[in-house]
Symmetry: C2
Subunit: 346 residues, 2 copies
């Protein structure tokens, strides 16, 4: 591959001039620039970004670590980040951690060696993460996504999980539900899952209702459904479930429907995240929508602001309660509602 030196030689100018023809054309006489460009074309010259990065001590690359791209909530965020980064002349080095702490550390180490200008991370639990603790000693700007800001010391982009979960729960309560459960997928121990559960408890207690214990379904499997089915068939059945994420909510709707329950007739299901697909389904998913695209864009913007030395702490972004067909008022015997719809069971 031709380099600037050969272009310069061919154009009959010095390397410095050739370089200027590309990076600061206004410093070069038109005629000279033409010569350089012509030579570059003939030699099929293509600037070597690596050399520029080394010299400039900046890569214009952002290191991104998400837990998994199999969950659309991260894929959609990344999509928006990529667009935003490209607009501003940055590229993304993308990695997935599967929430594996060892892998998280390896990844971040290799990104730091690659001299990314900044990091955008999503970890399981920002408060507990030894990785973040050690990152605090580094000079590379770092920004969290989806993790609550908390005490980790890093700015974070996301929504107020606790408030959002409270709002979700209240929505169900307002519809008349009183026996509401929360179902968690894997990552019970994540900071978000915790906050979402707290929000749920808070809302229940404010309404003088009793929060139920968290139902755990780490693997979304049918077997794990059994205890839940039990609770749905009991004397005092749950009439609404909040899943800690949309993927789980969608599986729940599928499995429960298959098991003979009607959603939302027998049980309302509420999700959390707001993945795009939720809107297309029937029943459409009622969920707390995190603005994934905005989160991605804002993550890029806030990180680049940090890079430029501004202490632009990104604000909490607004979540939306997206209504959907998976949630409806309860049709329980205990609810003395006149115009009750779908009076299926006793």
């Amino acid at each position: 591959m031709a380099d600037l030196a050969s272009v310069a030689k061919r154009a009959g100018v010095s390397r410095a001039t050739a370089a200027r023809a590309f990076s600061s054309p206004e410093l070069v006489r038109d005629q000279t620039r033409e010569k350089v460009m012509a030579a570059a074309r003939e030699l099929r010259f293509r600037p070597n970004t690596v050399a520029r990065q080394l010299r400039a001590q900046a890569t214009r690359m952002i290191g991104v670590m998400v837990p998994s791209l199999d969950n659309p909530v991260f894929a959609e965020q990344l999509q928006a980040m990529e667009v935003a980064a490209r607009e501003r002349g940055y590229s993304l080095l993308v990695t997935t951690s599967e929430y594996d702490p060892a892998r998280e550390s390896d990844i971040v180490e290799s990104m730091l060696r690659q001299r990314v200008d900044g990091l955008v991370l999503t970890v399981a639990d920002a408060e507990q993460s030894p990785l973040l603790a050690s990152l605090r000693r580094e000079s590379t700007p770092c920004l969290l996504v989806y993790n609550p800001a908390g005490t980790s010391g890093f700015p974070s982009v996301g929504v107020d999980n606790r408030a959002a979960s409270e709002a979700a729960t209240r929505h169900l309560i307002d519809l008349g539900h009183t026996r509401i459960g929360m179902v968690a997928g894997p990552l019970l121990q994540s900071d978000r899952a915790r906050q979402r559960f707290e929000g749920y408890c808070q809302a229940m207690q404010s309404a003088r209702l009793t929060p139920c214990a968290l139902v755990e379904m780490p693997r979304h499997t049918r077997a794990e459904l059994a205890p839940l089915e039990g609770q749905l068939k009991s004397q005092q059945p749950l009439t609404a479930l909040i899943a800690t994420n949309d993927l789980l909510a969608i599986s729940l709707i599928g499995e429960l429907t298959r098991a003979g329950f009607k959603v939302p007739g027998d049980v309302s299901i509420m999700g959390f995240d707001g993945i795009a697909l939720g809107k297309c389904l029937y029943p459409s998913l009622c969920t707390i929508e995190q603005p994934r695209a905005e989160i991605g864009r804002e993550a890029v913007n806030a990180l680049l602001a940090l890079l430029e030395g501004e202490q632009h702490a990104p604000p909490l972004l607004a979540y939306t309660l997206r209504d959907g067909e998976s949630v409806a008022p309860p049709v329980s015997s205990s609810a003395p509602c006149p115009t009750q719809r779908g009076s299926h069971h006793a």
Copy 2:
């Protein structure tokens, strides 16, 4: 950030020795290596990959361009690619094109400037792409994903779209469907969409059935549904639809259900891609499953093989017809078939 030179000085050795302590420890006396490592630790030295890349004329980075991460089929492929690449010491530079030719060119140009060791691309139409035409003149190895190999001159990883689509159609025919339509989302002009439509036509004709014109729904909107509804309510209603991708199939199920049709009672819906979520839905999505993870892994393997000079042309991968609840035999008045199974066509 401390560099090797300062580590070397501190350890009282030359830069060459310090470098060796890291990259070829066996060439350095244990005692010397210890000194170097100690100095590195004290100075918090972290090797600069950019410098190594420049010197080595290799970046161990793969440039990946997918149309969009909002479609899980690409996100899932990318997830697998990332894992496979990391295992082999490579990183991914990830970009999204939205199938915009101008953006595709910009992206590839910037990746070439970044001196990625290889490219993994998915384009709208490999045969027509001017980008690919010009890429053929470059020395950077390039591999297509999802695009059929065809005449583009690049090896490609994916399934036989035509055969897969034919199989999907035959599956419906075997179930007794005779009036089967195909619905396409955006990207009618993509090479895959074309092949899938051909496969459909082929299967229909083989069964002496009349292929219908492709129904276009570029935006998945409700308005676009009208013509389709017409065809479903006609005298000779379509009893099965094949969508050109899963996202579209899922929206179709949702919208049609909402419009009062029963899936699969009134109309069977078949997808194409096999995104993970399809299995969780109710009705679960009957679809042609492309092995997304395998495609991702194989793309990395084949590209790295190319890098090492092997002419390891990746084979077509096997698709699977994944059965699902969205498809059932037709319940049409015109079908006088008691136990008929697949004995339809001459």
